[in-house]
Each structure stands twice: as structure tokens, then as C-alpha cells.
């Protein structure tokens, strides 16, 4: 049978993949997608915990409401992020991470 650890492990791996993506890829949009993946991995852990931690018989909906809020925030964040990427593209004509070094020390 499936245990809580399995779910957490899946979430962990998903998070790791997201992290690797963010570090490896040079295309900002793909980085952004990996970011979303990391976020959803976190949501998975929350839902797993809410299911496995029963409050007087029913799953713990506080965790799930937190997931609800993260999803909304993520949505807003994606909107703003993509707007920035568009503005960036208009300035640099490229979405490559290497071109964006203005804030160098």
C-alpha cells in the first residue's frame, strides 16, 4: 500500500527536478516553468499531509486551504513574471540568462 513517505518522496523528487531545471536551463521561460513545478511539489506535500492527518475523522482542510492560496498566488505571480519577461525580451531581444548581467558588482 502507498504510504505517506511515497507521496513525500515523489514531491521531493519533483522539487529536485525543478531545482535542477532552474539551475541548468538558460532560457528564462523554462526556468519559470521549473519554478512552477517546485511550487506544485510543495502543494503535493501539503495535500499529502492533510490527507494523512485526520481531524476528527475528516482530512485536515486547513492544509488544503493553504494549497488553495498558493495556487492563487502562483497564478498572480506567473502573470507578473511573464510580463517582466516580455519587457525584458523587448529590452534585450533575448531570453537568455547570460545577457542579463546589468546588476553586476
Amino acid at each position: 500500500m502507498i504510504t505517506l513517505n511515497d507521496y513525500l518522496l515523489v514531491a521531493g523528487i519533483l522539487f529536485a527536478i525543478g531545482l535542477a531545471g532552474v539551475v541548468v536551463r538558460r532560457n528564462i521561460i523554462v526556468i519559470y516553468m521549473c519554478l512552477e513545478m517546485m511550487l506544485s511539489a510543495a502543494n503535493l506535500t501539503l495535500v499529502a499531509f492533510s490527507r494523512f492527518h485526520l481531524v476528527d475523522g475528516a482530512p485536515d482542510y486547513a492544509a488544503q486551504s493553504l494549497v488553495f492560496f498558493t495556487i492563487t498566488v502562483a497564478a498572480a505571480e506567473v502573470a507578473v513574471g511573464l510580463a517582466i519577461i516580455v519587457a525584458l525580451f523587448r529590452a534585450k531581444q533575448s531570453v537568455d540568462v547570460e545577457s542579463v548581467t546589468k546588476l553586476k558588482g
Binding site: 531545482l19 532552474v22 539551475v23 538558460r26 540568462v97 547570460e98 548581467t101 546589468k102 553586476k104 558588482g105
Partner: protein, 614 residues
């Protein structure tokens, strides 16, 4: 006239006149300042003659420093030694003041000259009256200052400035040793500075006698330190270089300071604190040795000098060597007696040479003079009397005092006696050489040719001094003038000593007459003596290497180490760290995210693995 008033008048009057001249000299004009200075010298002389009869006394004039253990005050001692010295200082001081009125008539800075002279009188009386080491040291340096001012009177002449600087610095080196001696005594005697207290503490009489129980090396260090002060001031062997150069100053100055009084201060001080020197055997031997060596050494150099004032300067060095030797041989009274008689005839000789130079229009080289006996009879006569006294011709004052010292040397150790006798021979040799070349024969330059006798104001002191040069040796005068005549317990060698000294005089004079009569050029030509054993050059090299070169090296090192290590190095490190830190902000986003991830993993590792263990 109690001794307290006398001491305070003699001490403070010259100071007031010097201060007055310093402050108002310019406004009040040179004549008034001259009158004030000479007046104060005369008044001091009268007062010191008055004190000749006063009983021994000592006391405190004004308390200089009174902090915790330290009680340094300006005091005075009136005893036979200080009365005699006071008489010499004020008498010769007065004569020099009067003489200077004539000699310095056309000098343009006369008020400054007389101000410095009064300053000197103040400092010299301070040394004579001093009753503790602090006061002695203070006036020691003030005398150094006044000799600096007087030697450097004609400050346009570069030689005069160099000479005055050299004099002050050599004295200061002597004072360095002097202060070490004083400090050692101060530490060993647990805070005593007064001569009376120190003598008591040394004798171990009273309970407060820690000095008595001080180890021998402490007393030796103290005695040698104090002797170094005398070496600096009385121009003994190592530190004698400044006296011949001090002849750059006006001649009356040389007469007063560099013949009679200031240079004698060293011997006076040694006799005053003889109980400290007596306490250490090695110090006594050292002092006697240095004294004997200086006497011989200076006499050798005097033989080949051509400048009349330098001959007298070296003879002063030599006579001082005698006195210091006497002190070293525990014959302080003989030293003081010689100092006493020497003051008169040496001052006479210097003033005489001043008159000669005045007559030959500032010509100082004896080989350009000649035949002055006919042109300046009074100067010639007084100069010969002075020379006779200096050479030690029997019947004159020099003979008695020098013979005492030779006697002391004879009783103590053989080779010192032979050195002293040989120096006596050399003394009569170079003095007769000087007289023969300068006064006999025919004039060797047109200056000497139409030389004219010095005015009365200059010859009067000469005549007065020649009387004293003759008479001061005899009991009648010396008792009246409180000279410290050693009680003549003539030991068995007395006549031998007498004979040897007379023989030395005769041989010296004869040799000089034989060599120099009628000669126009110096037959002897000993380069070594003429160039003063090249000591000045050696000292110049020492100063150049050990001071200027070392200073250059040290200042280089200092700017590298002190400035570099403490200031520039940290600054450089800060810049270096700053530059490397900048590299972290490289602008590569991937670098940043990687650092982010690495930080995350490290944090997890710490939280999960490390934290629970502690």
C-alpha cells in the same frame, strides 16, 4: 650683610640685569644697558668681597620643586671654597666687563653681548653657590647656554655658529652623563639631592643612610656619571674638542669663560662633591688618569699651534688636566689652589692676547706678529708676567700651585708624575715659543709694524691682574682671599719635586729660545700636533656615520615598518579583500541560483544532521 642677602644679591642681580637688557635693551639703548651690566658686575664684586669675612652658612633662597619625595630648591652654601670661587668669578667678571667696554666699542650688538655676559655671571654664581645636585645641574646647563650665546655672538660668521653649536652639544653630552650620575645617586639614596644630606647618607651615620649600603658598582656609576659632567664642562680628554673652537667668540669672552671661570666649574663641582668620588676607587683612578692624559695631550697639541688664542686655549686644557688629576689623586685642595692661581694668570694672558690682537688690527697668527715688545710695552710686560706665572717660574703663583699638584702626583703613582713633569716642560716650551715669536725679533707684517698700545681701559685690568698673578701664590693674599691652600705637610720627596719642576721650566724655556729666537718660520713641523691628532676629523666622521647615516637608515626603516606595517598594510589588505569580494557579484544568474541551491542543501544538512547532535 648676612650671607642670605649676599647670596641672593650676587645671584639675582645679574639675572635682573640680563632680563632687563633682553626686554628693554633695544628701547633703552646700548650705553644704558652697558652701564647696567657693568654696574651689576661691580656691585656683585663688592658684595663678594664683603662675604669674604662672613662665617660659613647655607640655606634656601627659593623652593623650586616640592613634590612628594622631591625637594629641589635654589639654595646657597657659603664656605671657604665658594667664597674663594665667588671672589674669582666676580673679580675677573668685573675686569672682563670693564675690558669689554673698550674691546667691543665698535661692535653693533653690544647690548646683546652685555646681556649674555650678565646671564653668564648669573649662571656661574649659581654653580658656585649650589648646595644640591638639581640646582647644580640647572645652572650647569644655563652656563652652557650663556657660553653658546657668547661664542656665537658674531652669528654672521659660520665658524662662530658651528663653534657655539659644537660647544653646546658637547656640554650637553657631558650633561647626559652628569644626569645619569645624579639619577643613580637619587635612586640609591632614596630621594636625596642635597650635598649635605648625601654626604650624611654616604657616611652611614644617621639611620637614613641607604647610600652607605649601596653596592660598589652603583657608587662607581654615580661617580663616573658626575665626572662625565665635569669632562663636558671642563673640556677633558674625550669632550675637549669644543674649547679650541670656542676661540671664535670675542676675546674677553674667552678670557672670562674659557680660561678662568666656566671651564673651572667642572673642577669646582668635583671638589664640592669629592665625598662621592672618594667613595669609589675605580672612579678616582679613572679621573686621575683622564686628567693626566688630557694635560699631556693638550700640551703636545699646543706646541704646534700658530694662533695665539688657540695656544692659550690648549694651555688652559692642559692646566685643567692638572686640576682634574689633582682631584683624582684625592688632592682636591691642590686642585682648587691651582684653579685659583690659574684663573688670574690665564685671564691675564687672554686679555693680553686680546690687547695684542686689538693692537695688530685683529691679526691672530703669531707668525705675522713680532717685535711688539717695543711697540706695546705694557701689554708685553703683563703678558710676560702671565707667561712666567703659567710656566711655573719660582716665586710666582703658578709655581706654588703646580708644585703642590706634582707633589700629590709623586706621592701617588710614578708615571702620572713623569707625565705631569713632562707636561710642565712642554708648557714652558710653548709659552716661551709664543712670547719669543710674538714679541721679540722684528715685525713680520705691516699690521705688526704700526701696532699701537691698547687704550687705558684695556691695559688697566692687565696691570691689576699681573699684580694678582704674582702675589696670589703667597700666604698673605691667599688667606685673605679664602683660597683653599693645601696645608704644606711637605713629605720627603718635596725637594725632589721642586727640583724637577724648576728643571722642567729651565729646559723648556731654553729649548724654545734656542729653536725660535730670530726665526721667521716654524722650524718644527709636526703635522700630527698641528692638526690636533685629527680628532676633529674623527669626531666629524663619527657624527656623520653614527648619526646622519643612521638617521637616514632608521627613517627609511621607520617609513617602511611603522608607517607600512601599521598604516599602509591594513589599507592594502582592505583593498585586496574588497576587490575579491566584488567577484562574487559576477552577474551570472545561474551562479546565483546555484549558490541558492547549495545554501539550501547546506541549511537542510545543518538543520537535520548537525543540530540534533548538539
Amino acid at each position: 650683610m648676612t650671607s642670605y642677602n649676599a647670596a641672593s644679591v650676587v645671584l639675582l642681580l645679574p639675572l635682573l640685569s640680563a632680563f632687563f637688557i633682553l626686554v628693554l635693551g633695544r628701547t633703552v639703548g646700548t650705553t644704558v644697558s652697558k652701564m647696567i651690566s657693568v654696574g651689576s658686575a661691580a656691585l656683585c664684586f663688592v658684595v663678594s668681597v664683603a662675604t669674604l669675612g662672613v662665617t660659613n652658612d647655607s640655606g634656601v633662597l627659593v623652593s623650586f620643586l616640592n613634590v612628594g619625595k622631591l625637594h629641589a630648591d635654589i639654595g646657597f652654601i657659603i664656605d671657604q671654597q665658594s667664597r674663594g670661587m665667588l671672589f674669582i668669578v666676580t673679580f675677573i667678571g668685573l675686569l672682563v666687563h670693564v675690558y669689554s667696554l673698550g674691546y667691543m666699542k665698535e661692535d653693533k650688538a653690544q647690548s646683546r653681548y652685555f646681556g649674555s655676559l650678565s646671564m653668564f655671571m648669573f649662571s656661574m654664581t649659581g654653580i658656585v653657590l649650589a648646595d644640591n645636585f638639581a640646582m647644580m645641574f640647572m645652572f650647569w646647563e644655563l652656563v652652557g647656554l650663556s657660553s653658546y650665546l657668547l661664542i656665537g655672538h658674531w652669528f654672521e660668521k659660520p665658524e662662530a655658529c658651528e663653534a657655539s653649536k659644537k660647544a653646546f652639544l658637547t656640554n650637553r653630552i657631558g650633561d647626559f652623563g652628569f644626569m645619569i650620575g645624579i639619577l643613580t645617586l637619587w635612586a640609591a639614596s632614596n630621594g636625596e639631592l642635597g650635598f649635605a644630606q648625601l654626604r650624611e647618607s654616604l657616611s652611614g651615620g644617621s639611620v637614613s643612610g641607604p647610600l652607605h649600603s649601596a653596592p660598589a658598582w652603583v657608587l662607581t656609576v654615580a661617580a663616573i656619571g658626575i665626572f662625565m659632567g665635569a669632562v663636558g664642562k671642563s673640556a677633558q680628554a674625550p669632550l675637549h674638542v669644543w674649547l679650541p673652537d670656542a676661540m671664535e667668540g670675542p676675546t674677553p669672552v674667552s678670557a672670562l669663560i674659557h680660561a678662568a671661570t666656566m671651564v673651572a666649574a667642572g673642577v669646582y663641582m668635583l671638589v664640592r662633591v669629592s665625598f662621592v668620588i672618594a667613595a669609589s676607587e675605580t672612579a678616582m683612578h679613572l679621573i686621575a688618569g683622564v686628567g693626566g692624559f688630557t694635560a699631556l695631550f693638550a700640551a703636545l697639541m699646543a706646541v704646534q699651534q700658530n694662533d695665539i688664542k688657540r695656544i692659550l686655549a690648549y694651555s688652559t686644557l692642559s692646566q685643567l688636566g692638572y686640576m682634574v688629576m689633582a682631584v683624582g689623586l684625592q688632592a682636591g685642595e691642590a686642585g682648587m689652589f691651582h684653579l685659583y692661581t690659574h684663573a688670574f694668570f690665564k685671564a691675564l694672558l687672554f686679555l693680553g692676547s686680546g690687547a695684542v690682537i686689538y693692537a695688530c688690527h685683529h691679526e691672530q697668527d703669531i707668525w705675522k706678529m713680532g717685535g711688539l715688545s717695543k711697540k706695546t710695552p705694557i701689554t708685553f710686560l703683563t703678558f710676560v708676567i702671565g707667561t712666567a706665572a703659567l710656566m711655573g717660574i719660582p716665586g710666582l703663583s703658578g709655581f706654588f700651585s703646580k708644585e703642590e699638584i706634582l707633589g700629590a702626583a709623586y706621592h701617588d703613582c710614578g708615571w702620572l708624575f713623569t707625565a705631569a713633569a713632562f707636561t710642565a716642560l712642554l708648557t714652558s716650551f710653548y709659552m716661551s715659543r709664543c712670547v719669543i715669536v710674538a714679541f721679540f725679533g722684528k715685525a713680520r707684517s705691516e699690521n705688526a709694524d704700526h701696532a699701537h698700545e691698547a687704550p687705558l681701559i684695556m691695559t688697566a685690568p692687565l696691570m691689576l691682574l699681573s699684580i694678582f698673578a704674582i702675589a696670589s701664590g703667597y700666604g698673605f693674599f691667599s688667606d685673605r682671599l679664602q683660597a683653599m691652600v693645601p696645608h704644606a705637610e711637605h713629605g720627603e720627596g718635596h725637594y725632589l719635586v721642586m727640583g724637577v719642576s724648576i728643571a722642567a721650566v729651565v729646559i723648556g724655556a731654553g729649548l724654545a729660545f734656542f729653536l725660535y729666537n730670530g726665526k721667521d718660520k716654524d722650524p718644527l713641523n709636526i703635522k700630527l700636533f698641528a692638526n690636533r691628532f685629527y680628532i676633529d676629523e674623527i669626531y666629524a666622521v663619527i657624527v656623520k656615520v653614527f648619526q646622519d647615516r643612521l638617521a637616514w637608515i632608521v627613517s627609511g626603516l621607520e617609513s617602511i615598518f611603522a608607517d607600512g606595517l601599521v598604516a599602509r598594510l591594513p589599507a592594502a589588505i582592505a583593498c585586496r579583500v574588497g576587490k575579491t569580494a566584488r567577484a562574487i557579484q559576477s552577474g551570472h544568474l545561474q551562479g546565483y541560483t546555484f549558490a541558492l541551491g547549495a545554501g539550501l542543501i547546506l541549511a537542510i544538512y545543518l538543520v537535520v544532521q548537525v543540530l540534533p547532535k548538539h
